[in-house]
């Protein structure tokens, strides 16, 4: 187990390093100049040069990268070129918004997706399956921005059930905070719920016809026990993998959703920093996103070995 974790840690560091290089070079390859954005279109070459020197952009690329990594290791992500605020502060205010939103969306997706998937498999050929299949089709084919607009139009503006925009920190006022996040979370979670539902349904159908499920029935076990302990437990092995793969997509989904609902989150910060060519912020955002991916994947792998005894990490089994 320890060797396994150490190995994974090592791989993660390598991934982070590669990501930092790619983003560092990639950002600078983009058309557009932050000095120009900062100094204004009319600025004369001397002013531009001064601004560049001030930002350290006149240094060779390797030196710039070296300084970036050195600061990064000290926990200093630099200062936003556009706003002059330390990047760490920007992230500290925006990241919780996105984390709450994502957590909420994933929870909705898992509860709805697994629930509907199980119902569809158990009641095969009857209304729960048709309903679930219809939901999957809609969830997968309707783009989230359109779903978001519809939600605002009918549920917020029309019925006035939910606020159309705005944000209340969940850490300060949990209930109101979640209330404000409900519509965005539903919009963000719908596609994931559809994927989870489809996967749950098909692996439940597989396991329900498995020999060991029949044997479980032959033991005289209660139907609910057979469904949860035998069929669902084994179905989840596949479902968890799919959820893990899908979680990454949640980050890009959050960018769109936050935009629609005007949430001051990480996605909005990402988008704004790209528009203003705010190099330090873009870099920080990508590094943190990469880090999130790595942590999620590690968590999923560990969870996976927990549900599936055949994949106990560390190779202790035969």
């Amino acid at each position: 187990m320890a060797t396994y974790l150490l190995n994974r840690l090592w791989q993660s560091l390598a991934t982070l390093f590669l990501a930092s290089v790619v983003v560092f070079v990639g950002v600078r390859a983009l058309p557009g100049d932050p000095a120009l954005a900062l100094a204004g279109e009319e600025a004369d070459p001397a002013t531009l040069a001064a601004v560049r020197a001030d930002l350290g952009l006149d240094q060779p690329l390797v030196a710039q990268y070296g300084a970036f990594v050195k600061n990064l290791l000290q926990g200093d992500l630099g200062t936003s070129i556009a706003t002059g605020v330390p990047v760490t502060d920007l992230i500290a205010t925006t990241l919780p918004v996105t984390l709450w939103l994502s957590l909420y969306a994933v929870t909705i997706a898992i509860v709805v997706g697994i629930g509907a998937g199980v119902a569809a498999a158990v009641h095969r050929g009857r209304w729960p399956e048709w309903f679930a299949n219809g939901f999957t089709l809609v969830g997968l084919s309707v783009p989230s921005f359109w779903l978001g607009i519809l939600a605002i139009l009918y549920l917020a503006v029309g019925l006035r059930w939910f606020p159309a925009s705005g944000y209340v920190a969940v850490s300060e006022e949990p209930l109101r905070g979640l209330y404000y996040l409900t519509l965005p979370a539903v919009v963000l979670g719908t596609a994931l719920a559809a994927v989870v539902m489809r996967q749950t349904r098909s692996s439940m159908l597989d396991t329900l016809s498995a020999d060991y499920v029949r044997t479980a029935r032959a033991k005289g076990l209660r139907n609910r026990h057979v469904l949860t302990r035998f069929a669902l437990r084994n179905s989840l092995i596949v479902v968890v993998t799919i959820i893990g793969l899908q979680l990454g997509g949640l980050v890009s989904g959050a960018v769109v959703t936050e935009r629609i609902f005007g949430l001051p989150g990480f996605g909005k910060l990402t988008l704004d920093s790209v528009f203003t060519r705010d190099y330090p912020v873009i870099q920080a955002v990508v590094i943190i996103t990469t880090f999130a991916y790595i942590v999620i994947n590690l968590a999923i792998d560990l969870l996976y070995s927990l549900i599936n005894p055949r994949i106990r990490v560390g190779g202790s089994t035969r």
Binding site: S209, A210, D211, Y212, T215, G220, P309
Partner: protein, 543 residues
Amino acid sequence: MPSAASTPLLRITDLEVSYHGTPVLHGIDLTVAEGERVALVGESGSGKSTTAAAVIDLLPAGGAVTRGRIEYRGDDVTHADDKRMRRLRGRQVGLVPQDPMSNLNPATRVGKQIAETLVAHGVASGREARKRAVELMGEAGIPDADKRSKQYPHEFSGGMRQRVLIAIALACEPDLLVADEPTSALDVTVQRRILDHLETLRSRRGTSMLLVTHDLGLAADRADRVVVMQHGRIVEDGPAHELLRDPQHEYTRRLVAAAPSVSTATRTGAVATSDEDPQQDKGLEPILVAEHLTKEYSVRGRRERLTAVDDVSFAVRAGTTTAVVGESGSGKTTVARMVLGLETPTSGEVRVAGEHVATAKGAQRRAIRRAMQPVFQDPYASLNPMFTVEHIVDEPLRVFDVGDRRSRRARVAELLDHVALPRDLAQRHPNELSGGQRQRVAIARALALDPRLVVCDEAVSALDVLVQDQILTLLGDLQRDLGLSYLFITHDLAVVRLVAHDVLVMQQGKVVEAGTVDDVFERPGSDYTRELLAAIPGADVFT
């Protein structure tokens, strides 16, 4: 008819089971008396497993009892509610399913899977149930039961898993055991040990048994009464030994005649003796020579290498059959793969018609491939489902650029004649054919290039006895007509006696015995061979 006292334990009257409205069982009448062992025998599709599944209401989706009654101790359970059915399952009727590899929950510890049954029926709970589960595992013959009860199914061998399933079935001491092909997925020696053990446990408790099997020999050995089924009907029913010695119904007669274990005793070396001493044929050098074949694999996470095949030498004389016999893990399939050039030996060599298989290059290698063709075990998996029969049989000809389109078409027709398939089958796809027909197609494909050697890897193991008998006869005819040589890989000693001239017995990668079939069968030199021979089900019934 059995001496059923007042009420039999299980009585099935006029049972009809339908799948999606189509009846597959047509009026089954069957009783199992207290303490009686009844074997349901028939080919696949005869309805024997459906009958067993109907008893505990576990028919596959789409199946339903559409007529008749099932009574347990006089209590009608035909359309019983869920609560009544749960009491029947596990508590009153225990099920030993067919495939030990797929019948245990892969995500739950074995001990818990046994304890679950006890808990569900209120026989024991908590720590007591776990303790009892360990005892049951011990009784089922699992060594070190305490430790092993905490392991998962994937840490058990097939035989050990089947013992776990037996422990589950017997956990609540049911009065009736339904055993659906309980050992057909296991090696013969393992099968014998497990069935012996099951018999000990069963007789101690006086449990009745409904044994479903395709193996007449097994039925003869393990049952008091045999019920023969065909096309969803019972065609014959009687005391085991009597029925198999003197079958009345025409279908039973055919089954008995085709059963290899029977033939072993009665038609000693049918194919072998029909060939007039083939080794004197022109004094040819053997078509296939394997010398000191060794194959080692490195296993991940272990330092020592696994030796799958250890110094194996043999020869196949032209126009004869050499059988390689062994249980799973004996290395017999690896030998076949090395002969076919699909694996490279770690050391040693294979020569086909004098050419080295491993080192041959280019044209030479193609010539060897042409001279040697395989027929694999599972005709459902080894034929491309997207191709027509003609395309499948024609493929080797196209690969080797033999003839033009018209001559190839004629050749396919000729090959289909050889394997006794009607020519109009050529345009069909494999899924439209039966298992036996598919295996004939596989043989036709193997013959397309006029090979001198055919490597049959468990080529008849997946087939029903009657079909198996037909295919073996076909292989014999082809050998006589075309002078083919066979390397015949099998786990079934009974089949060996029917088809082979020479035999090689393998155990754990080594040859433990080699010689002519008569020598090995009449005067087995090694304990292992003797054990294998003794494990052939039903051998003593027919001798």
